[in-house]
Structure formats: C-alpha cells, structure tokens
Amino acid sequence: MDRDTIRTMLRDMLRARAFEEAAAQAYAQGEIAGFLHLYPGEEAVAVGVLHAAEPGDYVVSTYREHVHALVRGIPAAAIFAELLGKKTGVSGGMGGSMHLFDRERRFLGGYAIVGETFPIALGAAYAVAYRQLPEAVLCFFGDGAVNQGTFHESLNMAALWRLPILFVCENNRYQIGTEIHRHSAVTEIYKRACGYGIPAEKVDGMDVLAVHEATRRALARVRAGEGPQFLEMETYRFRGHSMADPGSYRPTVEVQAYEANDPIAATLRGVEFHYPSADELGSGHDCIQGFCDHCCQEGHLDEAALARLRQEVADEIAAARDFARQSPAPSMDDAWAALLRNRRYDRLFEEQAP
C-alpha cells in the first residue's frame, strides 16, 4: 500500500477519535442533548472501508455515523454544527447527531430506526444498476441489526438481482445492553450472508490494513458485476451505547481486553463466548495506537511527525467546535422550508400560466 494512503488513514483515525472525544465533552457540558452514539474503538472500520472505496460510491449508515461522515469528507465543522443543532450543520440543524446527510458527498444518511437502512441501500444499488452507473453502495450496520426482517429480505433481493452493494457489519458484540450470544442464534454473522449465496468474509475490524484490503477485494468483485458482497468486521466500542448509557453491563475485564486489542481478540472469536481472564490481557493498544506504532516501525513517520499530526488534528477539531458554537440557530421558517420545498412542482404551474 502506498505511503500516502497509509498516512491519510492514520490522520483520519486520529481525526475520528478527536472528533468523538470533543463531542463527548460538548455533551457533558450540556451543549449537545439527545442520543449521542460515539465511535471510539471502531475507527479502523470506517477508515479502512471508506479509503478503499471510490469517492463516487454511495454510503448509507446508522445513528452511529459521525465518523463515516467525517471520513467521507464532510467537514468536521459542518458535522459539529449539526450536533449542536445549528443552521450551518450538514442537515441544517433539523436532523441532529443521528441524521447526517450530504448529497454532494453521496452520504445518503444516518438513520435511527434499526434495520430500515437495508432497503434504502438496496434501493440506491437498484438505481445504480438501473441507470448503469459505475458506483457501488456501502451499507454500514451493527450486529443487532441483522435480526430485523429487512436484513433477510434485503440480502435475498440483493443476491437475486445481483445488485452492486457491499454490506459492512460493524460487529461490536452488543445490541445496547444485550450481548451477541443473547440476541443471535448464529453469532458469526458473515455466515448468515452465505445462506443467500452472498460471498462473505470475517475481518479483524481492529486492523485498518486488513479492513482496507478486504474491502478493496470485495469492491473489486462488486464492480466486476459479481453482485453483493458481505464483510463482517469484528470490532468493539469503548464507550457505552450512547452518552446516556454507562455500559455497566459489560465486565471491566472485557472492556480492558478490547481496549488493549491484543492477541486475545483471537480467543474471543470462537463461537463459544468467554470473558477474557486477567492474564489474557496483553499490553497492546487500541486500533489507533496500534496503527500509530505500525506506521512508526515501518518508517512512514517518526515520533515528531506523529506529534505534529496529532496537533494538526487537535486544531482542526477545536476549530470545528468553535465554528459550531458561533453558528446561528435555524428558525421555524427553515423547518417549514425543509419540509415542503419543491421548485420543480412550482415551476410546473408557472410555465403553464398564460
């Protein structure tokens, strides 16, 4: 992989972490309310996948979508402003944390109802195929979402009609407080895709290079007309489900094990779930720290360059937050305008007027 890609991926992972930590802080200070679902721990997934995609590909995500939006190229300031409900936000302050949309960057939305995104992504893929366009659709979702009927219905139609879509499951082992062995009969999620004849693969979602490589291959197959592909990313969220959730249902030892992203991840991968013991805890790092070390070892960057990078990222996020704070709020008129604005329809009658 070329150096530039590696560096931009590292930068994006750092941006992602810094953005989310700043959002958590703003929430703690009362600047953000509502549900705020954060992504720390899972950065390698969004970064690896989106860097392996083309800018023209379409993205459909969930309520845990700030980082997908950020890596897709939506400015941090426009996302932060949305979290603060400002007019300058990427959804004009009407959507909020769970509903980021950006037409230009082909970000088709963050959605708050689990499972409703599968058909939407499928519809986008249908349109791409229908219009004979070269793009693919990327559909991100959690391990909890695969038990919604729409998942199965959509996988079937995607395979049946060979639609250009990549399903990316962010398997962080939890559906809020319900651990995967208590919500799914088959916990190796990629196997479910096999039931529909969709090529599927399990990937170490804590390793950005592995994610990138698996995505690159899967997208190549999509673009070659081989139909839908499925990747299960094994990952973990370091925080609670949302800022309202302390996540206390998870044993500390388990959280620490993932935070240390060490060889135990492998033991956890078995079908039988067991909580890691204390000595299974390694002295490793989370996905970002691990990738920083990798980049230094491989000579892509030295300590000084890394410090500079961290500083640049911190400055960018601080500026985004300032921008959001200083931005104006939307008005009720803005809300009405967002609801029923339809120039084409208006023109239909203007043109017909005598």
Binding site: A33, G34, F35, E82, G85, K86, S91, G93, M94, G95, G96, S97, M98, H99, Y111, A112, I113, V114, G115, G144, A145, N147, Q148, G149, Q175, I176, G177, T178, R182, H183, S184, Y249, A329, P330, S331, M332, A335, W336, L339
Partner: protein, 326 residues
C-alpha cells in the same frame, strides 16, 4: 399511600401480576439484564428468570407477533417496544392480527396481549424518535388504547390491561418516567374505559391526556390566578374507546372546550373529541371548540425549535383567553 415514580409504579404492577399469575411474562429489548430503558422492569429478571423476562433481538414485528400467538394459547404477555417509534415496525402483527383475531374467529379465540409503548417527544431525540402515535392505534377496531398521566394510573392501567381479555395498547411518556405521585398501597385497578375530571371548573373544559394533562393543569392554575377563570380539566385517559358520556357531561356544564394534545392536529384526538361534542351536545356549545396541538412538522432536532413545535401551558392559556374573549 406511597409516593412512587411513574417507572416504579409500572414496575410494581408487573411484579404483582407476575407473582400472581405464572402465565404473565414480559418481553422486549433490554428489559431483562439491563432492567429496561426506563427502568420499568428493573429487578424482574433476577426475580423471575429469563423465561419470564425475555430480552429480545431487534425484531419488533416478530416479537409482537410472539405476544399475539402466546396470548392465543392463554399466556398473558406484556410486550414492551423500547420506543413508540419502533411500533411502526410491529404494525402488521398489531393491526392485522392482535386487533382482529378475536373477531375473525367469531369470538372464539381471545388475544389478551398488552403492548407497552414509551412515547412522546423527550429531549432532542430527533424526527425518528419523537413520534406520538395514539391516533394510529385509535383508528383500529379491536384494540383498546389507554395512556396514563400519573404514576397511579400507570400502575392501575397496566394491572387492568393484564386482566383484560382484549389486546391493550398502553402509551406511556418518555419524559414522565421520573414523575412522582401518590399510589395507594392496596391493589387497585384503573378502568380501561372512562375519563376523569382531575380539576373541576365551570367556565371551560380542557380535555387532555398523557403529558398534556400536566400542561392543562398548569394552565388552569394560571387561568384561575390571573383571570379568575375556573377551567375544568378532564384526563381522557382511555383513547379507545373515548368516553363519550364524560366528554359531553363536562361541556354541558362549561359550554366551552379546548383539546390539548402533543400530537399534530390532523386526524387526531382533538378531532375525535370535537366530533363527539358535535354529535352529543352541539347546542350546549357557546363557542366553537379549539385544538391546541403540535405544529405540522416532523420534530426538529434544534432544542428551541423542538420546543416551539410542541404546545405548552402558555399556548393553552392563550387559547383559553381567546376562546373566552379576554
């Protein structure tokens, strides 16, 4: 008499009914190990075990259907859907099955399902997490729809719902789980039909339900203090069937009516109540009845706009003054 919060009252009703009848079980997302998003099932998993307090996958339509099927075999399922917004996904089981099985079987098969739905606009949860859906359920023959405004009713309605042989939809409110109120220590049941005059008055009637009862009560207090107006507040409580007799009785006394609802006006509770007034006591009205309701826009995320899109006590006072010409 104990002071309980809304969630504690719901928990107590669950606990009593589960202790009494082994056929009562609870099912829903995160209701077991995690104790429920709003704590209303805290401790039940430890007490009654997984079989009776079942955490479900995210499969709303199917686990609501499980409630229907189990009810047909004599179980008494209390199904919680984490937020009313997700009940849209369970509509097939609710509308096509729960509501109609008793009818379609010629009255031979009962479906005593209880569906608990935390509803309403909480705090910046955005357009997909702020729905009020009572109007949807009210339109379906075969369902009962009730909605508690206090811990006492949250307890009593759930108790009655479990004992009732019809499917009952209980719409709670996400912003009221910590609301405290007196709940009698003795076991008691709140009727699934009928309204309640929660504040008597003679000058006009404020019809309300669920959280809007609190806006109406606050408005009545201010109208009394500031205007010397005695507003009667009627908690509709049962939305299906609506209490035709009680609604008309109040207006025969006050001759003026305002309906206060958190939802948008179209095809809603206010429209129904006013239709009832037209049908039952049109000539008793001294002024055209009025609705105080949400703006016709999906709930905005921005805090100020969110508040502006939902009515409050000030809006009720303003509507009352206008109606009375003061």
């Amino acid at each position: 008499m104990a002071e309980l919060s809304y969630w504690q009252a719901i928990l107590r009703a669950h606990d009593e009914e589960m202790a009494r009848d082994p056929l009562v079980f609870a099912m829903g997302e995160d209701i077991g190990v995690a104790g429920g998003t709003y704590k209303a099932t805290t401790g039940l998993y430890a007490k009654y075990g997984e079989k009776r307090v079942m955490d479900t996958p995210i499969s709303e339509n199917s686990y609501t259907g499980i409630g229907v099927g189990a009810a047909m075999l004599g179980c008494r399922p209390i199904v919680e859907i984490m937020s009313v917004n997700f009940a849209w996904l369970a509509m097939d089981q609710l509308m096509n099955n729960a509501a109609k099985i008793h009818y379609m079987s010629g009255g031979r098969i009962r479906c005593p399902l209880v569906l608990r739905l935390p509803g309403g606009t909480a705090h910046q949860l955005g357009a997909q997490h702020s729905a009020r859906m009572e109007k949807v359920f009210m339109g379906v023959p075969g369902l009962r729809v009730v909605t508690p405004s206090s811990p006492r009713d949250a307890y009593g309605l759930l108790k009655s719902a479990v004992r009732c042989d019809d499917p009952v939809v209980i719409i709670e409110h996400e912003a009221m789980y910590n609301l405290k109120g007196e709940v009698p220590d003795d076991e008691h049941f709140t009727p699934l039909e009928g309204s309640e005059v929660v504040r008597p008055g003679k000058d006009l009637t404020l019809f309300a339900y669920n959280i809007s009862v609190h806006w109406a009560l606050a408005a009545a207090e201010r109208l009394a203090k500031e205007q010397g107006v005695e507003a009667e507040v009627v908690d509709l409580r049962a939305l299906k069937p609506l209490d035709r007799t009680g609604i008309a009785a109040s207006v025969r006394k006050t001759h003026r009516a305002i309906v206060v609802e958190e939802d948008e006006a179209a095809v809603g509770v206010g429209a129904e109540v006013i239709a009832i007034l037209n049908e039952e006591c049109f000539f008793e009205l001294d002024a055209a009845p009025v609705r105080v309701h949400a703006r016709d826009v999906p709930t905005p995320y921005n805090r100020r706009l969110e508040k502006a899109s939902i009515p409050n006590a000030d809006d009720v006072v303003a509507a009352a003054r206008k109606l009375l010409g003061r």
